[in-house]
């Protein structure tokens, strides 16, 4: 199964959130902080008038004043009077009064389906745009939903409208660049940011320019200006966060680990969800801790779902990682990485239902993502659904079907599809070949399955791929061998163990391998427990043991276990305070 975390060299490409989420971040804020303009509203006059007259007209006026002030006491007093005359008054003010009086329903709405949700959002935004088409953020919001629904042309028109309305707005430029990246127009994204007048004076846009330059293989135009911003550090750390991590990423890729570490440290002084995720990715890449543990919670960085996914994934806590990945996909459904994360982690947890449902969600937004398709096929075959569901049969011609219980045609089509991916080569070929091996095992053709998995391992070793791909193939081969009860199961397990260790190149094995090999060990001990072990509920059993919060566990290449203890956990005489 293919790992989402190794399919990319992550760059700090701008995020694209809906306006409500955007409002929570500092991306929209000014570089030069201004003192918040005080807003002192004199509520005493109208409060006295309300108490004295209890007039409905004054109450309505007072409720408006209370919203601006804001003054909860005045709002309650006004709302009570409005409530008495609610049948005579217009809905907007009655709604506010109800909210003030705590009458808003706390019941959670019934969540509609994915498409219904985004379709509903489009309808609502269309109405808003009809009322006020001058809002660039509304155009960007509707573009997000169009993208998610697979309507890329409509999304493109909406993004163009936003750019026309606010061609130099930071949020608009960055969101538009992200959109162009999504639709594969990275050069256009880069040109947009590079040529914007505002870019040379804006660290957020310089960060985007530097990150995008790497995507299109061009030298960054504003590198020096970006470095100047970081050296001077005259603006708040959060405004420099993505810039520091963007430059840090280039230093990391160039092998300048020391410089990279320093830049990531600067970037994490005021992290954004994007820079935090970049740091988590860099941690995986550098094999060292960059982010202090207290920074990881969403309470510190809003919407840091990607970072949380990476963190939980890196530590092998797959149940937490899957939940974080689902949240990440919810806020960035157009992100191929978010989509891949749910599919990959769901697969590791043997949560096939989640993987297959997720594939359905991704059908429109990522219609041509072979990696997602491979993950779906893995889950479909592993769950056995491929052999059961008649709904997946293509056509009704079962001439070749010599066994009524197996939709041979479907299986044949899947095999042909996988062969196609293998022939296409590239990084999807390894996954497709492993899936063919899986399919062969499940069809009872164990020798063929074994041969295909062996080919997969060889292919992974030959190609210029991440080192643990061969280990992953070996691990899943071991699973199938145990389940099939073949004589070479022990050999397959030994190969998986050896590749997991050697494939890591002296470093800790990939978290996915570490996690899944524990399942293999348990399965090897008692194959009868396969339904329990290979289920979503077993994830906690294979997660690493929880250490006291501040302790860090490291496994060295020579097998030594190192426990790092923070100074706060030690007494003045150096004794460990934690039992």
């Amino acid at each position: 199964m293919k790992s989402f975390s190794d399919r990319f060299d992550r760059q700090v490409i701008p995020g694209w959130h809906d306006s409500k989420a955007r409002a929570l971040g500092s991306e929209a804020g000014s570089l030069v902080p201004r003192s918040s303009p005080s807003l002192t509203v004199n509520v005493e006059t109208i409060r006295e008038e309300l108490n004295r007259t209890r007039s409905i007209g004054v109450a309505v006026d007072a409720l408006n004043v209370a919203l601006v002030a804001p003054d909860g006491e005045l709002a309650s007093a006004a709302a009570s009077i409005i409530d008495e005359k609610r049948s005579d008054l217009p809905k907007p003010v009655v709604d506010v009064a109800d909210r003030v009086l705590g009458r808003t329903s706390n019941e959670l709405p019934i969540l509609p389906s994915f498409r219904m949700f985004h379709g509903g959002q489009v309808r609502e935004l269309r109405e808003l745009l009809r009322a006020f088409p001058q809002s660039p953020l509304l155009h960007l919001d509707i573009a997000r939903h169009f993208v998610t629904l697979g309507s890329r042309d409509k999304a493109a028109r909406a993004v163009a409208a936003a750019l026309t309305l606010a061609p130099q707005n930071r949020v608009v430029l960055r969101s538009a660049a992200r959109f162009f990246c999504f639709v594969g127009e990275k050069d256009r994204a880069y040109s947009l940011i590079r040529n914007a007048v505002r870019t040379q004076a804006d660290p957020w846009l310089i960060a985007a320019e530097i990150a995008l330059s790497q995507e299109v293989g061009r030298p960054p135009l504003h590198w020096r200006k970006g470095k100047d911003f970081l050296d001077r550090a005259t603006v708040a750390p959060i405004h420099l966060s993505e810039l520091a991590t963007a430059i840090g990423t280039i230093e990391l890729m160039s092998g300048n680990r020391k410089k990279a570490r320093k830049l990531f440290a600067q970037g994490l002084r005021g992290p954004t969800a994007n820079s935090l995720a970049q740091a988590r990715w860099a941690e995986l890449r550098m094999g060292m801790e960059l982010v202090a543990s207290e920074r990881t919670g969403p309470q510190v960085v809003e919407n840091a779902f990607e970072a949380n996914t990476l963190q939980a994934f890196n530590t092998g806590d797959m149940a937490v990682a899957l939940q974080a990945a689902r949240n990440w996909f919810h806020v960035e459904p157009f992100s191929p990485l978010a989509a891949s994360a749910v599919a990959h982690i769901g697969g590791l947890m043997d949560d096939y239902k989640t993987v297959m449902e997720h594939a359905e969600l991704c059908r429109h937004v990522h219609p041509n993502d072979v990696s997602l398709r491979n993950n779906f096929l893995y889950a479909w075959i592993s769950s056995g659904e491929i052999f059961r569901g008649s709904e997946h049969i293509v056509g009704d011609d079962n001439d070749d079907d010599d066994d009524d219980e197996v939709p041979i045609r479907v299986v044949r089509d899947v095999a042909m599809e996988l062969r196609g991916y293998v022939e296409d080569g590239g990084h999807n070929a390894v996954h497709a070949l492993a899936n063919l091996g899986l399919l062969a095992y499940r069809l009872g053709q164990t020798e063929t399955g074994r041969a295909l998995y062996d080919q997969t391992i060889q292919l992974a070793r030959r190609g210029n791929l991440a080192t643990h791909h061969a280990a992953a193939a070996a691990v899943f081969h071991a699973r199938e061998a145990i389940l099939a009860g073949v004589p070479w199961a022990d050999e397959a397990i030994a190969t998986a163990r050896a590749l997991a260790k050697s494939g890591a190149g002296g470093q800790s094995p990939a978290p996915s391998i570490t996690f899944y090999i524990k399942k293999i060990e348990a399965l090897a001990k008692d194959p009868q427990l396969a339904p329990q072990i290979l289920s979503a509920n077993s994830a906690a059993s294979f997660a690493p043991a929880k250490l006291p919060v501040n302790l860090k566990l490291e496994t060295k290449s020579d097998g030594r276990l190192i426990v790092r203890v923070p100074a706060t956990a030690l007494s003045s005489s150096g004794k460990l305070l934690i039992k």
Partner: protein, 375 residues
Amino acid sequence: MSTASTPPAADPRLAAWHLVGTSVDGWNVVERLAQARDPAETGKTGGTFSVGYKVEKNGEEAFLKVFDIIYAFGPGRNFIDELNTIRGSYNHEKALLDLCTTGRMSRIVRIFANGEVPVPLPLAHDPSFTVPLFYIIFERADGGDIRDVFSRFGVISDAVKFGYLHHVAVGIQQLHQASISHQDLKPSNVVIFEKDPGAKIADFGRALKRGVFAEHENFRFAGDPAYAAPEQLYAHQAADWRERREAVDLFQLGSLVAFMFSAKNATAGILDELETNLRPEEWKGSYEDVLPMLQHAFARYLVGVRNTFPDWARPELEQFVKLACDPDVYRRGDPRARAQHGKPLGIDRFISRLNVLRIEAQRRALFEAVNAPAT
């Protein structure tokens, strides 16, 4: 100079609050009107600029506005400077109202009299040492203010509402033609007359005249912040008078239009739709940077209130509010007017819109009356 018939109060600092039963310029002071509580009761000395009274003379009622001098006595304040400030405010408002009277502005409340009442200086040994209590007497609206519409919300006709709004717009235009900007066009400052039916604009305490200095010219909010335009909330001051001052009046006119039907004004509506960290007291950035979010919030507000507009007038009213309350002060106004030389706001076009709606509402009311089934 006019005089009060009796000494106003035992404590001259509270003189402005205790005029009931006295006579000012021949007008008998009958009743103190809605104001913040007496500073003697609250112990506070801030927040109210003037005290209002109902006065009578020969059976005619009027409104007496007395400039409160208690600020001048506040701890740590320079009495002479404060008194000069109060005098300046009085003179400024009086001068603007004189201009309105001279200009025969039909939709601005008329002024009957003005002057000052001497009040003995506290702790002075010689009672001839006095401080002036400045006042202005206006025509009194017998129909209250425009907020009273809500007490008869289901009864009052659209024609009447559009009539009031048309009058307010005319009043704004009359002021702008005299280079005066009201700056505080809130519902309580739109007063209703029953005998001579219609609405007029009142309270010029925060108004400004182009080229004439006033103390509050330099304030971030010339008027009441609770009804301020978005650019004022975010401390943005346009360089040009038209955008800095007249555009605020237009915003408040549009806000009043929306308020008349939805009971939710644009200032409160926009802030209500904003995330907390974008509210003016939290936002650390500029007006330009927050503007896209304000437009987003305004769109939500507009969609929320438009269903309260009469069906037949909804597109026109929605367009009216959209153009008049645009959070972008540099785009606010009628687009065709803004495209002209000097970028006028096009108040005349807004007046025309309201007039057309008023006439149509009257026509519809008449049609309904004629076709109503006999009972």
